[in-house]
């Protein structure tokens, strides 16, 4: 679900910034540099999403651990190892999700991209 969400956001972002991509290509930016720009953005999105997910998840567990109905089945212990692992997966998800929009954006013809409204 996360990968689909980031892929959709990145596809929209690339579409909205088609002209900007055209400008970068027109002034000589290589396709791989444009791809990197979009991929870094996707990874940051994945990282921030992962961080927010951990915070909200931890908050929800804290809440559940205070409720008598769920007290016995919920644990709020959060190891650094799990946090790093979750963030790693989030960044990787961003990288995978951003790959196609980045490739597509970077390989647009400069002329077509500049004509985009």
């Amino acid at each position: 679900m996360g990968i689909l969400g980031i892929a959709n956001t990145m596809a929209m972002s690339v579409f909205e910034r088609t002209r900007e991509i055209g400008i970068l290509r027109a002034i000589g930016w290589k396709a791989w540099r444009v791809m990197m720009l979009i991929q870094v953005e996707a990874m940051v999105l994945g990282f921030v999403g992962g961080l927010l997910g951990i915070l909200f998840g931890w908050g929800a567990l804290e809440l559940l651990s205070k409720m008598p109905q769920t007290l016995s089945i919920v644990s709020t212990s959060l190891s650094l190892e799990h946090v790093v692992e979750a963030l790693g997966i989030s960044v990787l998800s961003g990288l995978i999700a951003g790959a196609y929009p980045a490739w597509r954006g970077a390989h647009l013809s400069p002329v077509e991209a500049l004509r985009h409204d």
Binding site: R19, E20, G22, I23, L24, R25, A26, I27, G28, W29, K30, A31, R33, S109, P110, V111, L114
Partner: protein
């Protein structure tokens, strides 16, 4: 005895054709042209004549359907990498300026320099020097939406000069400007061409600008007519 060396034109176009929509629209129908280094050329023609398409092909922004564009004798797209050609040999100026809206004037001028040699401080100082040359020293930190049309075009000219190109291509550079700003921009462009010895090719539909150029090429229905 030494053999006479043949002078290779800076840019050469051979039987260039460009069609769209599966050949239904022919923008260029066999254009041949030779440009020497340091020339100042105006290309004029009615809307839809193919003049902007010709400039886009000269600038490596698009590829021809048939025919070829040669830069110093080497074919664009095969012997000459298009990205490197656009980044290091060319400066492009557009009618709609095409500045990046989220970057200020100083940052916009630095964008073409990213990834090429030089650190961030040398990029910034070169960008500042170019903007000062354009009379924009007092507007370095302004964003495009805070600049007038004439000022935006001056930032765009500074950006086009960022990597010290050999050729400056301008597609209707005064098309969005009033007469005062048009005159100022043309003064800057011709001044740059003279001072730096660059090749300047301007596409325009304005007769005054076209007739002022030492060489004037007229395009009609995808062909050069004179």
């Amino acid at each position: 005895m030494t053999s006479p060396q043949l002078k290779v034109p800076q840019l050469e176009v051979k039987d260039l054709r460009k069609s769209y929509d599966e050949g239904r629209i022919e923008a260029l129908r066999g254009v041949s042209l030779s440009v020497e280094a340091g020339e100042y050329i105006a290309i004029s023609g009615a809307s839809g004549s193919g003049k902007s398409t010709l400039l886009q092909l000269l600038g490596g922004l698009d590829v021809p359907t048939t025919g070829e564009v040669l830069y110093e004798g080497s074919k664009l797209g095969s012997a000459v990498n298009l990205d490197e050609y656009r980044a290091q040999r060319l400066g492009f100026i557009f009618q709609a300026f095409y500045l990046l809206p989220t970057l200020n004037a100083l940052e916009n001028v630095q964008v073409p320099m990213l990834g090429l040699s030089g650190g961030s401080s040398s990029r910034a100082s070169r960008a500042e020097a170019l903007l000062r040359e354009m009379g924009m020293g007092h507007r370095l930190k302004q964003y495009p939406n805070e600049l007038s049309a004439g000022e935006r075009q001056r930032v765009a000219i500074a950006r086009a000069l960022a990597n010290n190109p050999a050729i400056l291509l301008a597609d209707e550079p005064t098309g969005n400007l009033d007469s005062v700003n048009s005159a100022r921009i043309m003064e800057i462009l011709t001044g740059i061409q003279e001072k730096r010895g660059m090749t300047l090719i301007i596409v325009t539909h304005e007769n005054d600008i076209a007739n002022a150029a030492p060489r004037h090429i007229r395009v009609r229905d995808g062909r050069i007519v004179e």
